[in-house]
């Protein structure tokens, strides 16, 4: 990415490039690293009418696509209504699912839709590795979902993998699994948010694991990364993507009750910019003081003075916040070891229940 585009994007856009929309906190699984601490549905989740009105608002703003997640978004009875409305408004949809509800009929319905990408989450190359994180039976169900998609003729689904110390040595096997189903592999970073805060020390890749992961990804530009490994950029040439923190600049997150946060990994009152029940989304995006602050150039403090800052941009804001670091401190996985190695304190709390908006 050239410098002028980078600085233009850092200064914020008229609308997000994409936004992540957690449709529900309800989930049939309880993955150890769930970034949104999902399980039971939250009280007061947006109803169908509110969801469709929200689609109208971001279609009018020109949001290119929406990343739908949860929870397990397919647990919502109006899941396909929401998808079909987004597509009808020419808003692309990428949705993440554990695959449980991706049966033959749902797969056929998806195969007939335009502008839709499906990301099936798998966190290990085999049942044992995956199920240890995502729960018993989850590997088989995800693989069955991929089979259903293939049988329905759904082209190029994604297998979405959160890189952990238990699976980074098996990326070749995961790539082979993707090939088996005509899928593209997507590998993203584990963040210490949600339940990831409790499992971070056990699951995060070791420094050696991060180095081998970066080398592996560098040789495979076709593997998608969700732009999440820019903290590793000092290890070599940047991976394809924007390679910057997009929080409040090019992306944001809307949770099931309409709260707007800076990014999918900052579901916390400190990063709440507003609620779409109380204020139009466009006003929150353009006028929030929180987002204005995130769009400002960093001052000459903390790790912005490091010679590697241009490459890593200081790393992931959420990873720093949830490990108790200041936002201008190094990333907890700083490849130059400036974060103090593995000495960090996880401070993430579970703010969601307290932050539920009033209906």
């Amino acid at each position: 990415m050239n410098d002028s585009l980078a600085s233009a994007l850092r200064a914020g856009l008229a609308a997000p490039i994409c936004l992540t929309w957690e449709l529900t906190y309800g989930c049939n699984l309880s993955c150890r690293h769930c970034l949104s601490d999902s399980g039971p549905k939250a009280p007061g989740e947006l109803d169908t009418g509110e969801a469709l009105a929200f689609i109208d608002s971001f279609a009018e703003m020109g949001v290119f696509y929406v990343n739908i997640g949860g929870g397990e978004p397919m647990m919502r009875k109006d899941f396909f209504t929401i998808l079909e409305n987004a597509v009808a408004r020419r808003v692309g949809v990428k949705f993440s699912t554990n695959g449980t509800f991706l049966d033959a009929a749902a797969s056929r319905r998806l195969a007939g839709m335009d502008y839709v990408d499906v990301q099936v989450s798998i966190d290990g190359h085999d049942q044992a590795t995956n199920d240890e994180i995502r729960g018993q039976g989850s590997f088989d169900r995800a693989v069955a979902a991929l089979g259903n998609l293939a049988a329905a003729g759904f082209e190029n689904p994604k297998i979405s993998v959160v890189a952990t110390r238990h699976n980074v040595a098996h990326l070749d096997d995961l790539e082979a699994l993707a090939r088996r189903f005509g899928a593209t592999l997507r590998v993203t970073r584990l963040r210490p948010s949600g339940r990831g805060a409790q499992s971070y020390s056990d699951l995060r890749p070791t420094p050696e694991g991060n180095r081998s992961l970066f080398a592996w990804l560098s040789e495979r530009p076709q593997v998608l990364t969700g732009d999440s490994f820019f903290h590793l950029s000092p290890l070599g040439d940047p991976l394809p993507g924007l390679n910057m923190c997009g929080a409040g600049r090019v992306v944001c997150l809307v949770d099931p009750v309409g709260d707007v946060y800076a990014c999918p990994f900052t579901i916390h009152p400190d990063f709440r910019a507003g609620n779409i029940r109380q204020q139009p989304f466009s006003e929150i995006w353009r006028g929030s003081r929180l987002f204005s602050g995130l769009r400002a150039e960093p001052g000459p403090t903390g790790c912005s003075s490091c010679s590697a800052y241009a490459a890593c941009q200081g790393g992931c804001m959420a990873a720093k916040f949830h490990t108790g670091a200041a936002l201008d401190d190094p990333d907890p996985e700083c490849v130059l070891g400036r974060s103090g190695g593995s000495s960090y304190t996880v401070v993430s709390i579970r703010p969601r229940r307290a932050a539920v908006a009033v209906d």
């Binding site: 585009l5 233009a8 200064a11 856009l13 609308a15 502008y115």
Partner: protein, 91 residues
């Protein structure tokens, strides 16, 4: 000799920004920047299809500049060039 029509690729979504425009290609899932105001104006003209010579006249661009612009936008799949048979109004 048939003339050419320029049409905005229906798989392209284009959004104006302070620095120009952002384009998203729904086929390739690529995001890219359009900085030239002239290019943006051409894309707007082509939204419903426009005859090539009319578009150049509307933009007031030299032939060379206009051809460069069209070539660049075609290469990024923003514009489609269609042969204009001239029978569009013969229904």
């Amino acid at each position: 000799m048939p003339s050419e029509r320029l049409r905005l690729n229906p798989r392209i979504s284009l959004r104006e920004e302070s620095f120009g425009a952002l384009c998203y290609n729904f086929s390739t899932r690529e995001l890219f920047l359009v900085k030239s105001r002239l290019a943006m104006k051409l894309a707007e003209l082509a939204a419903t299809g426009v005859e090539r010579a009319l578009a150049r006249a509307a933009l007031g661009a030299t032939e060379e500049r206009f051809d460069q612009l069209v070539e660049a936008l075609v290469a990024r799949q923003v514009l489609l060039v269609e042969e204009d048979s001239g029978d569009a109004c013969d229904e």
